[in-house]
Every structure is written in structure tokens, then in C-alpha cells.
């Protein structure tokens, strides 16, 4: 099947280095300490952060002087094209762990000892790149909750089909069987927190795909920063009034 036509357009009309449309909004769940909606094309994710709050299960606490970060990833029953999903399948558990470790690396947990930070992610629509959308949404929600972080954790995916590196795969491109590289970066510190890849790639190609994904991450970081600054301006107006 042709994923990139000879003119260089993909199935949805994008070029190889174009991302899908991003919609990001902060403060959507009023009951949560911090929350955000993040959409990448048709993939829609809601993140809600509760914390810092009292630790509910002391047996999970490993480091006494650091905050405990918990993460739960779940997909709505109607989120994918084929019918129902089992609520807590292995993929959800794996993603919960991956996202927790990514966010834990960028939260300054030593500033909030004896407390717990809960990050809940709900996927409302899945069209490829849910992992990345969740990390981006979690970053926005943590910032909205005022939790101190080293940097914004942003994530983007890239793949390799029809001998072309492609940025931000959707579901059809992802299931094509080519490589799928997901990268999570702390942009200001220029450090990689998450790197996952399935399928085989020659080393040089991998470097190209990785570089493409990093570029995508930087673009998302810009966007997230804009959203947060706009949000802060709004808060300032309301406070001054």
C-alpha cells in the first residue's frame, strides 16, 4: 500500500515533516487541581492532576523525602474503531508505567516530601500517537496544577514508510508495519527522557527518524509554552479585576 504518493503527500495530505493539528486547552476539569485537553489530529486525551495530596497507600512509598507520583492511563470504550476494549489490559498498564516514569523524571519530587501526585489520563479518541498526546497533556495539567517541574516534558512520534521518515503517525500509518519511534524530550535541557521503538531500522535511518521526532517535540514545546503563557495572562487579568 502506498503511504506516501510520488508527490510526497501522505494519506491525509500532509508532507513528511508536517504534524497534525494541535488543540490544547488548560483547566477543563474544575474539580481537579490541574487539567488539560490535548488533541493531535483525531487523537483526543484529557489529563487531570490531583496533588500534592496526602499519600493514600503508604506501602507504595519508596523514598521518604520524595513525592510519590502515580499515573493511570485508560481508554474509553468508544475510543477506537473496533469495539470494546478490556478496561485494564496489558497495554494500558505498560503505558501507565512509561508515562509515570517520564513525568517523574521531570517533576521536582524532592520539593514535596510525604505527598502524592496523581496523574490520570483518559483517552477519548485514539488515532495513533496516544502515548505522545498523553505525555503532552500531562505536562500541561501538571503546569496548571502548579507542581514544580524541571522542564516541560514533550513527546512526539515518527516512523519510516516507503523509504521516507514520517513525522507524527496516525493509526493507519502506525499499523502499516514500519518502524514507530516515540521520543520524549525535555526541550530546554535538551535531554531525552523517553525513547521507544518497534521494528527494525538501520542505524543511519534511525538517526534521521529520531532527529525528525525531536524537531516535532520542539515544535510542540513551543505550542505548549504559548498555551501556558496565554493561560497565565488570563489569570492575571482576572486577579487584577
Amino acid at each position: 500500500m502506498e503511504y506516501v504518493n510520488p508527490e510526497g503527500l501522505r494519506l491525509d495530505g500532509r508532507r513528511f515533516n508536517e504534524m497534525r493539528q494541535i488543540v490544547a486547552e488548560v483547566g477543563v476539569v474544575s474539580k481537579a487541581d490541574g487539567s488539560a485537553v490535548f488533541e493531535m489530529g483525531n487523537t483526543k486525551v484529557i489529563a487531570a492532576v490531583y496533588g500534592p495530596r496526602e499519600i493514600q497507600n503508604k506501602s507504595l512509598q519508596k523514598k521518604d523525602d520524595h513525592a510519590l507520583v502515580l499515573c493511570e492511563y485508560s481508554m474509553a470504550q468508544f475510543s477506537t474503531g473496533d469495539r470494546r476494549r478490556q478496561k485494564f489490559d496489558r497495554r494500558s498498564t505498560e503505558l501507565s508505567l512509561v508515562i509515570r516514569q517520564t513525568m517523574e523524571a521531570c517533576i521536582l519530587t524532592e520539593l514535596l516530601p510525604h505527598s502524592q501526585i496523581d496523574i490520570f489520563l483518559q483517552v477519548l479518541q485514539a488515532d495513533g500517537g496516544t502515548r505522545s498526546a498523553c505525555i503532552n497533556a500531562a505536562t500541561l495539567a501538571l503546569a496548571d496544577a502548579g507542581i514544580p517541574m524541571r522542564d516541560l516534558a514533550v513527546s512526539c512520534s515518527a516512523g519510516y514508510l516507503n523509504s521516507t521518515p514520517l513525522l507524527d503517525l496516525n493509526y493507519v500509518e502506525d499499523s502499516a508495519g514500519g518502524a514507530d519511534v516515540t521520543v520524549g524530550i525535555l526541550p530546554k535541557l535538551d535531554k531525552v527522557t523517553l525513547l521507544q521503538m518497534d521494528a527494525k531500522l538501520p542505524m543511519e535511518t534511525f538517526k534521521t527518524v529520531f532527529a525528525l521526532a525531536s524537531e516535532g517535540c520542539k515544535a510542540i514545546a513551543e505550542r505548549i509554552r504559548e498555551v501556558l503563557q496565554e493561560n497565565t495572562k488570563q489569570l492575571e487579568y482576572r486577579r487584577a479585576a
Binding site: 474539580k31 495530596r53 470504550q77 479518541q125
Partner: protein, 302 residues
């Protein structure tokens, strides 16, 4: 309670927010005696309600309903199944209400919220008993194939009156629902039609009217609900979570579009409801049903 005097003394010295947290009942009663609530609503008024259909593109029908901050997202997926032998002409609806941990600080991961299965059952009973949906419309081939509708309602923000918002989102999702086009192929199996192919069209049997185009369900007797709190001699319509946590007697009245009562629900609580209180609740529900009917009507035109 041995503290009433001390709260009188402290109320003049304390900040409003602190008083609200420490003496919540007195805080609310101060407002109720002026026939107001802390968010400046009159006692019988519900919060601003918004309904947005068709948000989930992967579902056959969906809607988002917001009453104040309480947000519910409902989505329906249709699947073909074999009907049971005692009702070969009828399809089926399976309803599930989820409260994911994002919606409220009281919901813990791994432990489903207490309210979720209760609301799930009440919703299911209300929708089936109201007769809103004629299950015969969901039939494809009598005795062999019928539609099963999986309705999933997710609470995205829990701020009181969960049942009302969930019912509204379910009704809106049903009115947004478009049944997909299918055909019976040579093996006797139902297959979905994506484009219009001639060989598929040729094998459609007597269900032509069903399968030609995406069709909507006819909804009659649409149920509308209103939850009220009874407290001493006051009746508060459409409570928030804060109000529900302080005053525990809730009454839910469900009326349908022809003004008949579909259900009345009062599950205990410290306040006993005299018939006058129940009548007032029904009156408030009647007014609310008119508002909701108008909101749904506006949504359909879009």
C-alpha cells in the same frame, strides 16, 4: 451539637472561605434564609446547561452534556447480534456509566466509585421503562440479526447532579445516533457497507428501507430529570457536590415529554418528605423538563 454559640462568635472574625469549610451547614443556611445559594442561584433554578452532539467521530452517535461544571460524554456503538428467542424482533441496549478518576478527587484508581453502578442501573431502568426507544426498530432480520447498542457514558467532571447530566447526555446521544448501513451477504452474515457497491446492494433482502441510508431512531416519550435536595423547609434544585455533601436528602423526579412521571427516587436521608414537598419537586421538575426540551430542540436543528 454543642458548638452553635462558638460559631456565632467566630463568624464575625473569620474569613468567608474558612467559615465555609469549618461550618458548612451554617454557611449554607445563612444563604438559604435569604432564598439564595452561594453561587447566587435562586433555590428552584438549575445551572446553565449545554448540550453538544456528535463529538466522538469513532462512535455512531455521541453527545456531551454540561450542567454547570458537571460534564458527561456519552457515545453509542452499534453491533450486530442474534436476538433472543423470546423476542426475535427486538434489538437491545447495553448501558454503562463510568466514573474515571479524572472526574473527582474522591475517586481512587483501581476502586470504582460508589455512585457509579447505582447511577448505571438507574439510568438503564429509566431509559428502558420510559419507552423512549422502540426496540423493534433495532431489528434487522427477524430471529436472525438485530442491533445491539452499547452506550457508554463517561463522567469527565463530577460536580453534583450526576444522574441528571448523564440522562441528558444519553438522550442527546440517542437523538444524534445514525444507524450504519449494512447488507446481508451470501453467507447470511451482516456486513457493513462503506461505499455503495452494486453486488452488495443486490443481496439486500427485505430490509431495504433499513439499509438504504443511515437512519435515525424515532424517540418518543423522552425522559427529563431533576434532582432536588430537601433540607428543613427548603427545596434546592440541581445541587452541586458541595451541597450534596452537606445535605444528604436527595429526590430525583423523572418526567417525560408528555408530562407523565417516569420515575421518582428518594433513597433515605435525614429529611422525611411530606406529600407537599414531593409535589413541589414535581413542579420544579416540570419546569426543568420544559427548559431541557427546548435545549434539545435547538440541538437537533443544528
Amino acid at each position: 451539637m454543642g458548638l452553635p454559640d462558638s460559631s456565632q462568635d467566630l463568624s464575625t472574625e473569620m474569613e468567608v472561605d474558612a467559615f465555609r469549610r469549618i461550618f458548612p451547614l451554617r454557611f449554607f443556611e445563612r444563604h438559604l434564609s435569604e432564598s439564595l445559594r452561594p453561587d447566587a442561584r435562586p433555590l428552584g433554578k438549575a445551572r446553565d446547561t449545554i448540550v453538544n452532539p456528535g463529538l466522538v467521530s469513532t462512535a455512531d452517535g455521541s453527545a456531551l452534556a454540561k450542567i454547570g461544571s458537571t460534564t458527561m460524554l456519552a457515545a453509542i456503538r452499534m453491533e450486530v447480534m442474534t436476538p433472543s428467542t423470546d423476542s426475535p424482533d427486538e434489538g437491545c441496549i447495553a448501558l454503562e456509566f463510568h466514573m474515571p478518576p479524572i472526574c473527582s478527587p474522591t475517586v481512587r484508581p483501581g476502586r470504582p466509585a460508589d455512585a457509579a453502578p447505582v447511577i448505571s442501573k438507574r439510568l438503564s431502568d429509566t431509559i428502558l421503562s420510559s419507552g423512549m426507544i422502540d426496540l423493534k426498530e433495532l431489528c434487522l432480520v427477524s430471529g436472525k440479526a438485530a442491533w445491539m447498542g452499547y452506550l457508554d457514558i463517561y463522567c469527565l467532571n463530577a460536580d453534583g447532579a450526576l444522574f441528571d447530566a448523564a440522562l441528558l447526555s444519553a438522550v442527546a446521544a440517542f437523538s444524534n445516533l445514525e444507524i450504519p448501513v449494512v447488507a446481508l451477504n451470501d453467507n447470511g452474515r451482516i456486513v457493513a457497507i462503506s461505499g455503495g457497491k452494486d453486488e452488495d446492494n443486490a443481496s439486500i433482502i427485505e430490509k431495504k428501507a433499513v439499509n438504504k441510508e443511515k437512519r435515525k431512531l424515532t424517540l418518543k416519550n423522552i425522559p427529563f430529570s431533576l434532582t432536588c435536595i430537601l433540607h428543613k423547609k427548603y427545596i434546592l434544585a440541581d445541587p452541586t457536590t458541595e451541597e450534596e455533601s452537606i445535605m444528604d436528602t436527595l429526590v430525583t423526579v423523572v418526567l417525560d415529554s408528555s408530562d407523565q412521571m417516569v420515575s421518582l427516587y428518594k433513597s433515605g436521608g435525614t429529611v422525611l418528605a411530606y406529600s407537599s414537598a414531593v409535589k413541589s419537586c414535581v413542579e420544579l421538575a416540570r419546569k426543568r423538563a420544559k427548559e431541557l426540551k427546548q435545549i434539545l430542540g435547538e440541538m437537533d436543528i443544528d
